[in-house]
């Protein structure tokens, strides 16, 4: 069973619906005991980093998330879930979980591409250059695009964590992966077939990033 961490950060049902489509049983809960029993953890979220961290601390889920990553359970972060696993976010200057070294930065206001001013949030479909040979990114066509909506982006301190890159005025890290942890800035549950492929891969994954 897949456990979806409920920390009152946006609507988590779309992830559950995508898992339903993939015939995966899942539970949306803030009860760490139920999540302890899950084979895989999905950590989604939409909203602001400050509020998300406050909710995580209040529910005590912050400590459990770190523990699940340490224990080797496969963990998938999505969007805001991905951002708060870093050490710090520029959004509300928020100290975060510190699972991944590095911080989350705001897109510069004067972002440009080909002479055109780019809009923020970065909202819509964009490509991802994935690091080769990761089981969770297997079978995704090179020109596949994913649905993004965010104003802040992950900046890992150590390039070894970066597993995917996206261009939007700057080149930013849109996926991180190490050991049993994978985290993406985009929404696989809203990215059509390539997104469903990624989720299906994750549900089958044992948690080791070697082939």
């Amino acid at each position: 069973m897949i456990g979806i961490v409920d920390y009152r950060a946006g609507n988590l049902t779309s992830v559950a619906r995508a898992l339903d489509k993939l015939d995966q049983t899942c539970v949306i809960t803030d009860d760490f005991r139920l999540l302890d029993n899950a084979s895989h953890i999905i950590f989604p979220g939409v909203g602001a980093a400050g509020q998300a961290m406050a909710n995580l601390r209040e529910s005590g889920l912050n400590g459990h998330l770190k523990r699940w990553v340490q224990e080797g359970k496969p963990v998938l972060g999505i969007c805001l879930g991905t951002q708060v696993i870093f050490e710090r976010s520029e959004e509300d200057d928020t100290p975060c979980l510190g699972i991944v070294p590095g911080e989350v930065k705001r897109f510069p206001a004067d972002l440009r591409e080909g002479g055109q001013r780019l809009k923020i949030p970065h909202m819509g479909w964009n490509g991802v250059s994935f690091r080769e040979h990761h089981p969770v990114f297997a079978g995704i066509p090179a020109d596949a695009e994913f649905y993004f909506v965010h104003s802040y982006y992950p900046a890992p301190a150590d390039a070894a964590w970066a597993a995917g890159w996206t261009d939007y005025g700057i080149r930013f890290c849109s996926a991180v992966a190490r050991g049993n942890l994978v985290a993406v800035q985009f929404h696989p549950e809203k990215s059509g077939r390539p997104g469903l492929t990624l989720l299906a891969n994750f549900c089958r994954w044992g948690g080791c990033d070697a082939q």
Binding site: A18, M123, G124, W125, E145, S191
Partner: protein, 259 residues
Amino acid sequence: MLSKRIIPCLDVRGGRLTKGIRFKENVDIGDPVEAAREYYEQGADEIVFYDITASSERRTIMLDIVKRVAETIFIPFSVGGGIGTVEEMRQVILAGAEKISVNTEAVKHPGIITEGARAFGSQCIALGMDVKKVTASRGIPSGYEMVIHGGRTRTGLDALRWAKEAERRGAGEICLNSIDADGTQDGYELDLTALISSHVGIPVIASGGAGRPEHLLDVLTRGQADAALIASMVHYRTYTIAQIKRFLHDRGVRTRMQW
């Protein structure tokens, strides 16, 4: 770099599409869920539903459709039409829609934009604008006036000023419909689209007037739109979404070609 989005728009009344959509040997399909599935499979980047029913049972019927659509397609979709409170927004979002579109309700009570953005985030709040070209005046310096109730009522509100105010209040994107171009299939209102798009920092979806793929090319380049809404040209199967995307792609407009 972001792809330009191609977004089919479905008008729903009493749980059925207002005009049957011709698919599969021109059989009329009136089920919005089936139409959404077809467009998802054709490569739509997003889908917009407008509920033009004005009855009391509307909400229950629409929520049921939103739920079924959310189980069927795995791309973002928005729902608009008479949603005027945060509680109504919450129901539609929990049923599975990404975005709520507010139009007449926002002109009458601009606070709904602020409240919606605070409750769900700006990315959930799309402002629908119905705009009519008028003679520029002191009250309407841009020469574009906001109209409501599906274009029947003039408001005296300047469209550009309203777009900026909505952005300030937290709207995450604007769906900009030209009442003059709507239904003509003669092309989008390029001047209006470029004017609004160049003066706001949020994405603009152009709407009204699409009849041929060239029209999308124009509005996504000269009109500076971030996305294009289409209706008749795909509902009547004159074109498929895949054909339109191929046309744009071949002319250097970045579109999502893998789905």
